[in-house]
Amino acid sequence: MAHIEILNLEKSFGDTRVLRGIDLSIAPGEFVAILGPSGCGKSTLLRIVAGLETHDDGHVLMDGQVVDAMAPKQRDVAVVFQSYALYPHMTVAQNLSLPLVMRDLTRVERLPFVRHVSGRVKHVRKAIRESVERAAAQVEIASLLDRKPRQLSGGQRQRVALARALIRQPKLFLLDEPLSNLDATLRASTRAEIVQLQRKLGTTAIYVTHDQTEAMTMADRIAIMIEGQIVQIGTAREIYHRPSDVRAALFIGSPKMNLFEGVVERGCVRLTATGSIVARTAAAHDGPVQIGIRPEHIALAAGRDEGVPGATMDALPVVVTHQEFLGSEALTHVSLTGAQAGTEAVVRVDSEAIDRLDVGQQAAVRFHPDKLHVFGDDGKRLALVPSQEPSEPGDAIPLNLQASDDSATQLAGV
């Protein structure tokens, strides 16, 4: 268990700034996922924490101690690599024992014949063998100890890599997309096992991934990393419901958040497609904004004039372009038809609802007013003012017609 602090970390490869002032604090025993698209610098960050890569500026602290100049083995970290990085010429048992052999035996004691001469070496070797068996049992690979990695399946190799990481009981686990080479079923079950193992051992863990499902299901907290910067840190819920940056909003959630063009004028957020005011903000500056709404917070009605009672006049006219049936739910892809024609949006609907709509059909969508996210020109979230009373009554539209009803299916007009 270690308390990890990363302070203003900078790293460039040539002219490319890979990390731009990373700040991250990880509590002892915490499981933090670093989530970001490929090339965002998340693996570089992990390698710097491991000591496998140097950094240009900033500090890495473990339990309050600066470890910038320490070699990986001195930092007492364990890494699970994406390719597992098992030594192909060694058996599983040898792979697992290597970290202990390197730590517990001197250079001379490591020579193959010394165990027959020195009692201490014999004793240490025995202890190592026991640790190997214990670690193997923990990840259920006890029967594979004498095999070579090439004789193992992907899932088994992954377990060996995990066992090699935990055998030394390190202060920190670093996992670099460890599940990306597994098939979907195995990935789901291994996800749960890794989390259980980490909880049981109580070891601090940093988990790098580009898969939002992994990050959301496994981690205590997620750090969204984009273009070398952490744009938001928080629990999965926090990031999903209150994304602080449009990039974080787009990265979390599947299908991703719908974005519409809008503009702020004297505190009012106006949807460009209809010209109507959808929210109020305390933001001082007027200018263009992006209005985001998750697919499940949009109501879809067939035909321009049907739909949620009392809100038809402000519905966004759309045409259905594509439908996806997913069993428990369905996704309807629509394209705006009026002003801003061509803007695409995805609506999460009841799986029965898609039978009522056909591709090419005219329809209308409305947004849940409390579920809107407004992002400024710089991509940062703008704070919204509770929307009961628009500042310009003559210009605005009642936003929460069904505010008394809590049901998510009851939506207000735009």
């Binding site: 030594y87 192909p88 010429h89 070579k148």
Partner: protein, 318 residues
């Protein structure tokens, strides 16, 4: 004209019909086999003409008393082989060749491996060192031999001048019976190290850098530990290949001997290929030369198989 016009069309129809009719008769695996044969046949023809037939002819000639230029040839049974056993020269040249190979192979391999790891780990001038080390491989051996002859000249050569400057006695590298074989081996090592280096560099490229990272995290981060834990085991297949190639190359030594020593002094640098060349093309004893060749080839074959088996057992393949 009309006939000319109509005939291609009808030809096409006939062919099309034949094709359509023929298709169900030829199952796909048969046509695949035919295509496969098509690919193999050119090799088989070339291999037969350039390797198989000459080998067979040499084997046949080794049982005759044919002399180069003579019109008559008669069966000599095992006479050539009996001569081979009783003759002193082939024995000397075989001993010399083996000694030479024992010097050249291990040192070329180790030096090449050392150079490869060294050049690969240096950031600066990698391309320069790579080319510099490979230069002896691409230059003509005979031309280089002449340069070496000058360098090692007993009185005019810079090597001896350097020895004298250092207060050491001058050496007759190429005319001292005790020195000539090590000297020739030295030239071969100079030539081969660049070659083995390039082969090892290719092997090093295939080692995943994540393995070195894993080794560093596991505590094997000193250069020797990295070398023993990751580099050497993963270079195993390359090592087997390089050792065998080097053995074969060093057993085939000829150019430097022919250009620099002519087998001398007093047969101290007489090697097998040079003996075969002398017997066949200077003394015209083609039958006898063929017998030596046959034994030589069989020896190389056995050597290759044995060394391959020995090394292969302890090597990991991915």
């Amino acid at each position: 004209m009309t006939a000319l016009h109509s005939s291609p069309a009808s030809d096409m129809q006939v062919r099309h019909r034949a094709f359509a009719a023929g298709r169900p008769k030829a199952p796909p695996h048969l046509s695949n086999a035919l295509i496969g044969c098509g690919f193999v046949v050119p090799f088989v023809i070339a291999f037969s003409i350039f390797v198989l037939a000459p080998t067979a002819i040499v084997v046949v000639m080794s049982f005759t008393d044919w002399k180069l230029g003579e019109a008559t040839v008669s069966f000599a049974g095992l006479a050539n082989y009996e001569q081979l056993v009783s003759d002193r020269v082939p024995r000397i040249s075989a001993t010399n060749t083996i000694l030479y190979a024992l010097m050249v192979t291990p040192i070329s391999v180790m030096l090449g491996l050392w150079l490869a790891v060294l050049v690969e780990s240096s950031r600066l001038g990698r391309a320069f060192f790579r080319s510099a080390c490979f230069l002896p491989v691409v230059s003509t051996t005979v031309a280089m031999a002449i340069v070496w002859e000058f360098l090692l000249h007993p009185t005019l050569g810079p090597v001896n001048s350097a020895l004298l400057l250092a207060g050491l006695p001058a050496q007759r590298f190429l005319s001292d019976a005790a020195l000539v074989l090590p000297t020739l081996a030295g030239i071969a090592i100079w030539e081969n190290a660049g070659y083995t280096m390039v082969l090892f560099m290719a092997g090093l490229k295939s080692i995943s850098s994540e393995l070195y990272d894993a080794a560093a995290v596991d505590g094997a981060d000193r250069p020797w530990e990295r070398f023993w834990t990751v580099t050497l085991p993963l270079l195993g297949p390359t090592l087997v290949f390089v050792v065998i190639i080097m053995l074969l190359r060093s057993f085939r030594v000829f150019e430097t001997v022919a250009a620099l020593t002519g087998g001398g002094p007093r047969r101290a640098s007489e090697v097998l290929l040079f003996t075969i060349y002398q017997e066949g093309f200077l003394f015209f004893q083609v039958g006898y030369a063929s017998a030596i060749t046959v034994v030589f080839v069989l020896f190389l074959l056995v050597l290759t198989l044995v060394s391959y088996r020995l090394m292969d057992r302890s090597v990991h393949y991915q």
